[in-house]
């Protein structure tokens, strides 16, 4: 079975006409994720100030989220940016709620970061695209 089926995902429509492309957004998200896990960076401090528990990712370079496209195509007007919350190896090993932290980081740090850079409407959530109810996944 495709492991994707067990992931939590949220899809966003990328604002057309903005300077944000799938490529640029994915690079920004992965770079910012890496910064968040790096002590001493502005984003790491921001995560600590927001009381996000980064211990599940401590000492590792694993990504707790993956950025993909709903489709490939001629233009991005019909292609959605999909954020998949993967959790962490450490949390998975102890059977903890694996995706809570990743989602917190996305909602609290990463999404606002993109909105500051590209504009408040850069990403519009597609409510139909949620692959799982957050509550159900988090309580696992």
């Amino acid at each position: 079975m495709d492991s994707r089926a067990e992931e939590d995902t949220i899809s966003y429509v990328i604002e057309t006409g903005s300077q944000a492309s799938f490529n640029a957004l994915a690079r920004d998200i992965y770079q910012a994720w890496s910064d968040i896990l790096t002590p001493g960076t502005e984003l790491h401090r921001e995560a600590e100030a927001a009381k996000i528990d980064l211990s599940a990712y401590a000492g590792g370079d694993q990504r707790g989220i993956a950025v993909s496209k709903s489709a490939a195509g001629l233009d991005h007007s019909v292609v959605e940016l999909v954020i998949a919350f993967l959790g962490s190896e450490a949390a998975r090993a102890i059977g903890a709620g694996t995706k809570v932290v990743a989602r917190d980081i996305w909602k609290t740090i990463l999404l606002p970061l993109l909105q500051r850079k590209y504009g408040a409407k850069v990403l519009t959530e597609n409510p139909k695209s949620r692959s799982k109810k957050n509550t159900a996944a988090d309580s696992e």
Partner: protein, 392 residues
Amino acid sequence: MSRQISWPYVPMMTARFIAIEAIIEHGERIYDVVEEGRAVLDTYYGLANAIKSHEVEGQAAMNATLGRFWVRVEQDAPRTEARGLAATLHERLAELTARDICAGCPAASPCTGRDSLQDRERLALEGHCFAAYWSLCNLSRDVAVQIYAQHNGGRYVPPVVRFCTEQLAKRNTVLNTAFSASTSESAAEGTRDVLIAFCVSEFDYADYEQMLYGIFHECFVHALCGVRLDSGLAYLSESFHEGWMDYIAFLVLDRHLKRGQNLPHLVHANLDGFRSASTKAHEWRTDFRRPGCSSETRLNAFGRRAARAFVAFCSALCGQESGLDLAIGFSVMLNSSNISDETRGRLVSDASRRLVGQDNFARALMNETMVKALRAFERDRDPCVVIDGLGK
């Protein structure tokens, strides 16, 4: 079953396909027929946008709906008022609209307009009402698969490509067309879904001409791609797929059209129109000088520039036609392989660094490693040697 546009839009879109057929059949005289037939077309399209499903006992819903629609067109734009090419157009529209469209349908029974699931299933079987669309789909898939099979050898097994349709709420400002095109992983194993979404109320013959390029891009670049389209690393290969492969797709399609063989009758009737529409669409998505163009456009242009330099490099070493064949062969073998997104993206950067610009290009032609790599590919058909050669 593949996803298909819902019934209320099907007769509207069929009416548009009928007009497009009547226009495009005029080939080089399209301009004249559109100019002289403007009043008829304005009335026709205006009423087409207001089509509502209609039922007559003993008649298929599509035929009954289009029959009533045509009565209204004749009321508002009578045949007696049309002259010259407008009269010819009027007669052709009447003839095409009066056809028993559902009689030629592969589905066992005609659509009813009342069972959305079954109606969509009928359309997915290449319903005859969308024949103009399916003909471009089949042409695109067949040409793309043929090229991939030619370069990958007899054991090549392409993914299954399904064509889907949908309604698009408003005109696509990114492509400047009344349609959008995308490809996604299907729930069915080894299958890719190519989706064309129509802005039904605005779709016209110029969009139809550009749609061939759009569908071909989806088939050639994405549907036959060897790595997952929804990978978390897909962003690393955007310049390769949307720039490099798009340029190769454009060249392949143009060459096929230029040869003029095995084409659907509408494409055959208007070869120059389809070739210029394809050029226009390709140029549009790589025109980074256009004010306000998106960052995708710049990335597309970056990939295309690298591919052009690579084609020129192959042509300089092997001659124009053989060089083009070699560049196409390399590109499709790479695209259909499982070579990673990261390597694909790096190839574009390496080719830009090594081949773009007069001085770089001249140095590359004298570079033994790169020339040897290309010769080795020519002999062994292993794309990795070219990737390594460009990366050194």
